[in-house]
């Protein structure tokens, strides 16, 4: 044993062996373990992504099977809370609502966005049976000054009708195709004459998530409950199918 301890070759060989062993353990093992850890974490991420994509695919298939229903609900949702102010559609819808209730009412709402609100305040749309008989017709300036922000538009319905008709109007606004919030109701009776003013706000919301991956059946059920009862009073104008464009003298009475 003494000879072995005294042998330089033995100690050199042992040192080389130990250094090699330590070098392998120190230099090669940690990166390899770290790479394994990294790959495992990537696998875990990718598993959750696969699960999400699988849900997305399943949801897509389920939605495609009910595409007609989804399309109808999408149209209703767009009418209820559009991505833009969509005041043209609102005007036509409200006009349709007043016509269906047979109310002799004046509708006042701004036609422009808040970027040009000064113009909007001075040119509200007026639509009623009276307005068509008036010399100014549509576009006649009224005393109302609609307020508007980026997210909401205020409209006013004024008319010479009483309690029952005002109530009918409020019921119709509750199921109106565009979600609205009534801010005031004023009803006045003086002898035989009545007047009613209903002021309400409508909104728009630009933001919307890109896609839906969750349970389709529940969404359709919930959407039907909330949107199916909304009543639309006008269709979207189409220059393709209506308008009968083209006149030889546009100043001549049609």
């Amino acid at each position: 044993m003494n000879t072995l301890i005294k042998s330089k070759a033995f100690w050199v060989a042992t040192a080389i062996f130990l250094l090699e062993t330590l070098a392998i353990i120190w230099l090669a093992l940690p990166p390899a373990l770290s790479a394994i850890q990294n790959t495992r974490s990537q696998l875990s991420d990718i598993d959750s992504q696969i699960a999400a994509q699988q849900t997305r695919v399943d949801a897509g298939k389920a939605l495609k099977q009910n595409s007609d229903e989804v399309e109808t609900l999408f149209e209703k949702a767009t009418l209820a809370l559009p991505k833009t102010t969509d005041l043209d559609q609102l005007m036509l819808q409200l006009e349709g609502l007043l016509a269906s209730l047979k109310l002799d009412a004046t509708l006042s709402l701004p036609l422009q966005t808040s970027a040009s609100s000064s113009a909007a305040a001075s040119t509200p749309i007026v639509t009623s049976e009276e307005s068509s008989a008036r010399p100014g017709g549509v576009g006649t300036t009224t005393a109302s000054t609609p307020t508007e922000s980026n997210e909401k538009t205020t409209f006013t319905i004024t008319g010479k009708y009483g309690f029952a008709d005002t109530r009918r109007l409020l019921v119709a606004l509750k199921s109106f195709s565009r979600w609205n919030k009534i801010t005031s109701v004023a009803l006045s009776v003086n002898g035989d004459s009545s007047s009613s003013t209903v002021t309400a706000e409508v909104f728009y919301l630009a933001a919307s998530p890109a896609e839906y991956f969750d349970t389709v059946a529940e969404l359709i059920k919930q959407a039907k409950q909330s949107l199916a009862s909304l009543v639309s009073y006008a269709t979207t104008p189409s220059v393709e199918t209506e308008g009968n464009f083209g006149r030889s003298d546009p100043f001549a009475s049609p």
Binding site: T39, G60, F74, A77, S184, L205
Partner: protein, 182 residues
């Protein structure tokens, strides 16, 4: 048993056996390290190939989902609007509110003005009308206060009318719509 080998030879044999033992230990340690390394690298290779498979699976699922992206975005829009409904639609039943006012109005009282207005804090109701007696006006106010829909009803004005009519008094009542009705 007596070892008859010379001492020198005996020591050499002992040394050789220790050297063999040490070399065996080195070989065992070296083999273990080699085995462990091989195990680590094999595991890493298995994980990498599994990752590669999963990435392929993910991209094929993404392609499959893209086919229906239009209907998925429509559904997302619908869901977004349903979530926003409470913020952007009216929870107050204003027609019912008018019905309530009518049902709490005494038979001998005639309303001339009704004004319901909502602001950030509350919905208020202002009522102007005509009555035969002050008692009817007080009853009207009390009925509103005892109702489930209105609170803080107060008579803010009662005036004698100069006109000769059965409705001798004009009045103003202000009330607040209860929060659970808004």
């Amino acid at each position: 048993m007596i070892n008859l080998l010379p001492l020198e030879i005996r020591q050499k044999e002992k040394l050789a056996s220790r050297v063999y033992a040490l070399i065996s230990v080195y070989i065992i340690i070296g083999s273990l390290i080699a085995l462990a390394s091989a195990g680590v690298w094999t595991y890493r290779f298995v994980l990498d190939s599994r990752l590669s498979d999963k990435q392929g699976q993910l991209s094929s699922l993404e392609s499959a989902a893209k086919v229906n992206s239009d209907v998925l975005s429509q559904a997302a829009f619908i869901k977004n609007r349903l979530d926003a409904q409470t913020t952007y639609s009216d929870s107050t039943d204003w027609a019912d509110m008018l019905n309530r006012v009518a049902s709490y109005t005494p038979a001998a009282v005639q309303l001339t003005d009704l004004h319901l207005a909502r602001d950030a804090n509350a919905t208020t109701v202002g009522l102007n009308g005509l009555a035969n007696s002050r008692r009817d006006i007080v009853l009207f106010k009390d009925k509103l206060n005892s109702s489930d829909e209105f609170t803080q009803a107060e008579i803010t004005a009662i005036n004698d009318r100069e006109e000769t009519s059965s409705q001798a008094y004009s009045f103003t009542i202000q009330a607040v719509v209860k929060e659970n009705q808004q």
